[in-house]
Subunit: 486 residues, 2 copies
C-alpha cells in the first residue's frame, strides 16, 4: 500500500502539460430554420471541446432552440444512423448530443470529442437563427514543435508517418489513451506501442513515466498480474481485467523505458513488480514449461475472431524473458543469469511441445490444432525458431488462406516486428504499406482500431460505428520508419 | 431614439437583485442501473438551476452514462409523455434533457427550470452508479423577508394568499416574467397584474420601474401601439405583437405606479408615451366613437375560444381613460379635462351603440351578437353602467350557460375587480374561492395560466402539457385579499 501511494504520487508529479490550439472549421456562419442541417469540417482529426454561438436572424427566437450535434471521426460516422445501434459496447460512446438553448448565446459543450466532422441539425426553432463563431479547441500533450519529419524518400511511407504521428498525438492527453473517442483508458498493450513510438517522435518522457507508475499503483489479481487498464479521471481506479500478455508487456515497457532513457531510478522503483509479473506467469506453466489455460479473459493477443491464443501467449512470455534478462544484465543484476537460463529452457520446451515438424509450423493441441499468424509471429519473436526456417514460416503464413490473420494494427505491429527481426526489411515495408497504406486509401486522417482490407465493416465488437478510428496501437509505423530509417 | 436609449439605461439601472436559496430534495442518494428511474420532490415550486453528482457504485462505470432528466411543475407533467407532444407552441419548452456524462462528476445543468418534481432516468450505464448531492438553486428577485402574512381569518383565503404570493415570487426574476417555465417574457398584461400585487406584497419598486422602462424603450407599430412583450436576455429586443388592450394596460400600469409611489420623475419620463397610446386608440374609433376591427392579432382579453373581443376592448379603453385622466388631475396637468370629457362621450356612445336594452346586456353587432362575461365585465369596469343594473347583469352573466366565460385567471382578475367595483364583496370572495381555491384542490403549489374547473385538460394552445402552471397573471388574489382586508 505504501508503494502504491508512492507510485501514484510519482504518477501525479509527471502529469504532462497539455497544449491547446483553436481550430476554425471551413464554415464560418450558417442561417437555419427547423430541419436544416450543415456540416463543419475541421480539416483534420482533433480531440477537444467544441464551442459556437447562435443569435436571432431577424425576429427573436421566441422559444428555446433544440440542436442535434453529431461528431464524426470520418464521414461514414456522420452518415451512420446512431439510433440503429444495437448495443454491445455502450451506445453512449456514439458522439451525438441533443441540446436545448434558451436564448442567443455562446456555448461551449462540456464533453470532449474526437472528430474531424461536426454535423449540426436544427431540430426545432420557432424563428430562423444564425449559427456562427464555430471553434474546436484541440488538446494534446504531444509537443509538435519537437517532432522532426521522417527522413524517408518514399512518398507513401512519408504519408503513413504523418498519419501515424498524428494518431499518437491525438491519443496523448493526460496519459496514453487507447482511443480518444472510445474507451479513453490506459491499457498496457497500447501504452507499450505508444511509448515506443513516442521515443522516436515527440519524446515526451513525462507521460511515459506517468503511465508506468499508474500501472505500478494498480491492484494485482489473485495470480499476481497487474491490471490491464487503469482509469485516471476523475480519480485513480485500478481496472478489473488482468490479461496475462498485457501484464508481461508492462515488463517490456519498463525495459523499453530503460533502453531509451537509462533512468535507473524508475527501474529500481519498478523492478520488484516486473519480477513478480514473470514469477506469476511462471506459476501457470505446466511440468513441461507450457502455459496452462486459465479462467476468464486471460489472453488478448488480437481481436481476431475465434483465435486460439495459448501458443502466442507463450511467445509473449519468451519475448518478455529475453528483454528482461537483458535489462538485468545492463544494470548489473546477477539474476539475469537465472532468467536467461529459464528462457533457454522454455524455448526448448516450445520447440519440443508446440512445433509440428511435419507441418513445419507451430500447430499444436494447446490451440486445438489451429494455424494462426499469431502463434508463428510470437514464437519467432520469442526466439524459438530463427533464420531461414523462421523466414519461410512467417512469409508463408502471411500469404496463407488457411491461417488466422491479424485484424488489428496492434497485432500487425508484432508481425512487422517479426519481419524486421528476421531482416526481411522489404517484406516488412511491403506489409506496412499494404495495411497502413490501405487505411490511407480509405481516407484515414488517423489510423484505426481495426482494419481488414476485404471487410471495411469489420468490428471487434458488434457494429462498425462503435469502432475507434484513431487508436493508439496503430501508431507504430512511425517507430519502424524512424528506427530503421526506411 | 434618444429617449429609447435613455429608457433602456434607466431599465438597466433598476436591475433587481436576485436572491438565491439552495433547496435539497427529499431523496439524498440513489443507486441505479440502466432503466432505473427515481423522483425528487423539492417540496415546493422553484425556479432555478439543478445540480447533482454521480459516482461509481462498485466498479468504474467503464463508459459514459446517459441520463434523461425531466422537470415537472406538477406530477401530471412528470407522468406525461413529452414525445407524444404535437406541436403548436414549441416542444422545446417541455423541460426534459438527455445528457451524457463521461465520468463521475458533479454537474450543474446550464438551463434554468421551473419545477417541483425532478425525475431522473438512467437511460444507460454499463455499471451501477450512485447519484447524490442533489441541489436546486432557486432564484427570485422577491425579498421574502419583507412579505407580511395576510391578515385574513379565513383559512382558505389564507392558503390562496400563500400560493398567490408564491406564484408572484416565482415569476419575479430579472423582470416580471409571465411564466418561468414557458414564455419567460415581459408581457404588458402580466406586468400590470404582477406590479399591482407586488405593491401589496414584496414591494419591489425597482423591478416595476425597470419593466415600465423596458416597454417604453420598445418599438411602436404603425398604429402607434407599444409592443405587447419585450425580451431582455441576452439583450433587449422589442416584441413584434402590438395588442391594443395591452398597449392601454401599459398606461394603466403607469397610473398604478404613480398611485403607489407618487414618483413624478418616472411619470414625466413616460407621460408622452401614455398620451400617444390613447391617441393611437382614438384613431381607430369610428364616427360613433366605437372601436373598429383591425388586421392581425389586435386584442387579447382572454384565451376563451371563439371569443368576440371588440366590446371588451372598448371597455379597456374606457377603463384606461378614467385612470389616466385621474393621474393627470393628480399631477396638475390640465389636459385631464380633455380626457375626462372624451371618457364621458365614449361611455354614452357605448350605452347607445353596444347595449341591448331588450336583453339588458352588452350584446351587439360589433361582436356578432355574442354574449360574453368579457363584454359585460369590461363595460362595467369602463363605467358604462353602474349600480343595480350593473350588479344584476354581472351576477347573472357569471351564472349563465349561454355566456362565454373566462378561462384564464387573467380575465378572472377583471371579473373580480368588477365585483369589487360594484361592492359585491361576498360574491367577489365566493368567486375567488371557487376559481383559485379550485386550483388549490387540484394540488396547485402555484396558480396556473389557465383553469376551467370542468375541464382540467383545457389548454389555450393545443395540449395541456405545454401550459404554464406558475403564471404571473394568476397572482392577484393576494392583491384583493390584502387591499380589501378580506
Amino acid at each position: 500500500m505504501k508503494d502504491k501511494k508512492l507510485f501514484l504520487s510519482k504518477a501525479q508529479k509527471n502529469f504532462p502539460e497539455l497544449y491547446y490550439r483553436d481550430i476554425k472549421p471551413d464554415v464560418t456562419e450558417f442561417f437555419a430554420s427547423t430541419g436544416d442541417s450543415f456540416l463543419l469540417d475541421l480539416g483534420e482529426h482533433a480531440v477537444g471541446h467544441f464551442s459556437f454561438a447562435f443569435d436571432n436572424a431577424d425576429d427573436f427566437i421566441d422559444a428555446p432552440i433544440r440542436l442535434i450535434i453529431k461528431f464524426g471521426e470520418d464521414m461514414r460516422e456522420i452518415e451512420d444512423d446512431f439510433s440503429a445501434y444495437e448495443e454491445g459496447l455502450s451506445k453512449t460512446w456514439l458522439q451525438e448530443e441533443i441540446i436545448n438553448l434558451d436564448f442567443p448565446q455562446k456555448t461551449t459543450m462540456p464533453r470532449r470529442y474526437a472528430c474531424r466532422y461536426i454535423k449540426i441539425t436544427v431540430d426545432k426553432t420557432n424563428k430562423p437563427v444564425r449559427l456562427f463563431d464555430f471553434c474546436f479547441r484541440a488538446s494534446t500533450s504531444a509537443d509538435v514543435s519537437v517532432l522532426e519529419p521522417a527522413k524517408t524518400a518514399d512518398a507513401l511511407l512519408n504519408k503513413i508517418d504523418i498519419v501515424a504521428t498524428n494518431t499518437l498525438k491525438e491519443c496523448m492527453q493526460t496519459f496514453f489513451e487507447d482511443g480518444p473517442k472510445r474507451d479513453r483508458r490506459l491499457w498496457t498493450g497500447d501504452l507499450r506501442l505508444e511509448a515506443l513510438t513516442n521515443y522516436y517522435t515527440f519524446k515526451n518522457l513525462e507521460i511515459t513515466k506517468r503511465c508506468l507508475y499508474l500501472f505500478a499503483a494498480g491492484n494485482c489479481d489473485k495470480l499476481g498480474f497487474l491490471p490491464s487498464y487503469v482509469y485516471e479521471t476523475p480519480y485513480y481506479f485500478s481496472g478489473s481485467a488482468h490479461i496475462a500478455d498485457y501484464a508481461l508487456l508492462f515488463v517490456v515497457s519498463v525495459c523499453d523505458y530503460y533502453e531509451h532513457t537509462g533512468d535507473t531510478a524508475v527501474i529500481n522503483d519498478l523492478m520488484q513488480i516486473c519480477k513478480s509479473q514473470l514469477e506469476s506467469f511462471r506459476k501457470i506453466l505446466d511440468e513441461n514449461l507450457i502455459v496452462t489455460h486459465q479462467e476468464g479473459w486471460f489472453a488478448f493477443i488480437d481481436w481476431c475472431p475465434e483465435l486460439e491464443k495459448l501458443t502466442a501467449l507463450q511467445g509473449v512470455y519468451l519475448y518478455t524473458l529475453e528483454r528482461f534478462s537483458e535489462l538485468l544484465k545492463a544494470i548489473g543484476d546477477e539474476e539475469h543469469k537465472k532468467y536467461s537460463l529459464h528462457l533457454s529452457e522454455v524455448r526448448h520446451a516450445c520447440k519440443k511441445h508446440l512445433y509440428d515438424e511435419k507441418a513445419n509450423a507451430f500447430i499444436n493441441k494447446l490451440d486445438n490444432g489451429q494455424f494462426s499468424v499469431h502463434s508463428q509471429v510470437w514464437m519467432i519473436l520469442g526466439g524459438v525458431i530463427n533464420g531461414r526456417e523462421a523466414e519461410e514460416l512467417l512469409v508463408s503464413c502471411l500469404d496463407s488462406k488457411d491461417a488466422k490473420q491479424s485484424v488489428t494494427p496492434y497485432m500487425r505491429h508484432y508481425v512487422t516486428e517479426a519481419l524486421f527481426k528476421l531482416n526481411l526489411k522489404d517484406e516488412a515495408v511491403q506489409y506496412l504499406k499494404k495495411f497502413w497504406g490501405g487505411m490511407l486509401e480509405q481516407g484515414a486522417d488517423t489510423f484505426w482500431e481495426a482494419y481488414i482490407p476485404e471487410n471495411l465493416d469489420f468490428s471487434p465488437y458488434d457494429n462498425r460505428v462503435i469502432n475507434s478510428l484513431c487508436h493508439a496501437w496503430s501508431c507504430t509505423p512511425s517507430y519502424f520508419i524512424r528506427k530503421y530509417g526506411l
